[in-house]
């Protein structure tokens, strides 16, 4: 049985459907991530789970028991707020002791557990400090320790790293994964950074306009997006408009206007004549050198439109014969650029039939 079962819940504010008929089931021990653009309802969904909002429709079950009508303080669910919400009038130790005291824990036990929690987040020497004396990263760790100290069934994290700089985010991302593994508590993590989502999660739910677009493990979400929104939101993607010419076990035959036939992997629920797009990741599109041409299922001529040197990789923008521009990503495995192509050079690009994902309109 799933730890948290979300059954068709909706929450509306005026005309805005903040959460619109969402169903999810989250397993015990999972690091589950909600990702989506600003205003898509991530915070509202967390607030519904925490008990700060009641759903207009649908229900939530924790360990099989309905949460309806149970106030936030009675739910074994804790939240790490985006602002951290550390109590400014309490020291680090007092902040962390708060949930234990509320639960009526004996005072020597409180002391022991607080020390343990501080150890866990590497803040043992900051016990007596007050929140305003800590750095952003330290505050975040206090908030984590406070939310974890009395072992909730579920920890909700609402963009806990939004206030930190990029370097620190990366470091803390690592720490967060280790922490989750160490405590074994189920995390529901909200972010609008897709890289973060891919890096930390066991499973990801992509949200858009109050709805769940797709749920899956990171490589599934990235590799097999189910629709254009997911393909576009997670990572970078080339979308080539195509029409299906033939579909069978062997694969898909598509036609792109001005380019010709494209071979693709088998896809379900397609019909001849259907229109859609072929979604290709930039790293799946190769700029071909002479002999590679034979090995590629699909290859097309184009010219280098522009390129972006990023150090580890170079992104080439190639204008195909039909005018569409396709991005190709090349790893710079030796110093300098992997392929010294200049703007205007005639090139050939190609990809294997398994590379792309066909998405119907």
């Amino acid at each position: 049985m799933a730890l948290l079962e979300i059954r068709r819940i909706s929450r509306q504010f005026g005309d805005t459907k903040a959460v619109d008929d969402v169903s999810l089931s989250i397993e015990a021990g999972e690091f589950f991530t909600l990702v989506g653009p600003s205003g898509c309802g991530k915070t509202t969904l967390l607030r519904l789970i925490a008990g700060f909002e009641e759903p207009d429709a649908g229900e939530l079950l924790l360990d099989g028991r309905p949460l309806t009508g149970i106030p936030p303080e009675k739910r074994p669910v804790h939240t790490v707020f985006q602002s951290y919400a550390l109590f400014p009038h309490m020291s680090v130790a007092q902040n962390i002791a708060f949930p234990l005291q509320m639960a009526g824990t004996a005072s020597d036990e409180v002391r022991r557990r607080v020390d343990e929690a501080l150890e866990l987040v590497h803040l043992a020497e900051k016990t007596r400090h007050f929140p305003h004396e800590l750095s952003g990263g330290q505050r975040q760790r206090v908030a984590l320790a406070r939310a974890l100290v009395n072992k909730p069934r579920l920890l909700l994290l609402d963009e806990p790293m939004a206030a930190l700089d990029a370097k620190l985010r990366q470091q803390i991302t690592g720490e967060l994964i280790a922490l989750q593994r160490a405590v074994g508590i189920t995390f529901v993590f909200v972010t609008h950074s897709q890289e973060e989502a891919l890096a930390v999660s066991h499973r990801i739910a992509v949200m858009n306009a109050g709805r769940i677009e797709q749920v899956g493990v990171p490589d599934q979400i990235y590799g097999y997006p189910q629709n254009r929104f997911v393909a576009d939101f997670i990572g970078t993607v080339n979308l080539l408009p195509v029409e299906v010419r033939a579909a069978d076990q062997g694969g898909l035959r598509m036609f792109a206007a001005g380019l010709g036939e494209i071979a693709g992997a088998p896809a379900t629920a397609t019909a001849v004549g259907q229109r859609g797009v072929l979604a290709l990741r930039p790293e799946q599109v190769r700029v071909l050198a002479g002999s590679e041409r034979q090995e590629m299922d699909n290859h097309f001529r184009g010219t280098v439109h522009d390129y972006l040197y990023l150090g580890d990789v170079t992104v080439y923008k190639i204008a195909l014969d039909n005018g569409s521009v396709i991005e190709s990503l090349l790893a710079n495995s030796l110093p300098g650029r992997a392929r010294f192509l200049e703007r205007g050079d005639a090139v050939e690009v190609g990809w294997q039939r398994e590379a792309g994902v066909y998405l119907r309109d």
Binding site: A50, F52, P71, P72, T79, S83, A85, F87, F98, P99
Partner: protein
């Protein structure tokens, strides 16, 4: 530039002189060894001694302190609750509530005095005295406390209160452990302001005091109807010192609250 500065300084000095010279005169003459407020004769503290031997004055002072303490206490409790309510319900119909609590703050005192008198006499048929004064003072103080508390709350991160609930604190524990400690400076400032307002109040008190009970401002007024005795100077000086101390304390506790508009 230089010239402008000179003018500015002159203007400022004039304003301060205008404000504080009359007060300074009262203070100086309270130490003057003469029955007449005319010329400096010599230093004395005997007017203060007289003051503390004057039974009427002492009774009035006692009344004033009692009323100020009780009215400020009750107004602080009610005003704090009102302030929290104002901060929490800011949408829909309830949005006009702030205005309603704050009306007594903005209403001319004489109007409030008259309406309270009518209310006590015609509606409640209450005998005027300590109780009526107390109720009147509570009435005009609540709004001030509510403003200060609300301003203080508005400056706090709303997720603090949600965090408390989230971490297992019920509504009452959230109030006691998180809300109250955080708004305490505002609450204390509200108490001090109410106290000052109450102990200084004349206009409203005149209307609702009735015949038996007198407060310090009423007592002073009845004494200067005869003549401005040095004893009045002395009691005014003490009152002034108390008020200034309280205002200074209040503005130290909640600097933004006292400046901000409702």
């Amino acid at each position: 530039m230089r010239r402008g500065n000179v003018w500015l300084w002159t203007a400022a000095l004039a304003v301060y002189a205008f404000l504080y010279l009359p007060l300074a005169v009262v203070v100086i003459f309270s130490f003057n060894d003469s029955l007449l407020n005319a010329a400096w004769v010599g230093f004395t503290t005997r007017w203060y001694t007289t003051l503390f031997e004057d039974a009427d004055m002492l009774r009035a002072g006692g009344n004033s302190l009692f009323i100020a303490f009780s009215a400020a206490g009750v107004a602080t409790v009610l005003g704090t609750m009102a302030g929290i309510a104002l901060q929490r319900w800011q949408s829909g119909v309830l949005r006009c509530l702030p205005f309603l609590v704050l009306t007594p703050v903005a209403m001319p005192e004489i109007l409030l005095g008259v309406s309270l008198l009518l209310f006590f006499r015609q509606v409640l048929d209450l005998t005027l005295g300590l109780v009526s004064i107390l109720i009147a003072h509570i009435t005009f103080s609540i709004g001030f406390v509510a403003i200060v508390v609300r301003v203080r709350l508005a400056g706090l991160d709303a997720s603090l209160f949600e965090a408390a609930r989230d971490l297992g604190a019920g509504p009452w524990q959230t109030f006691r452990r998180v809300t109250l400690p955080l708004i305490l400076p505002g609450v204390l400032a509200g108490f001090l302001m109410s106290f000052t307002l109450s102990i200084d109040d004349f206009v409203i008190t005149v209307f609702v005091a009735g015949v038996g009970v007198t407060t310090l401002p009423l007592q002073i007024y009845s004494m200067i109807k005869v003549a401005v005795s040095p004893e009045v100077n002395a009691v005014s000086t003490l009152l002034m010192a108390l008020t200034l101390t309280l205002i200074a304390a209040a503005s130290k506790l909640a600097p933004d609250a006292l400046k901000a508009k409702p």
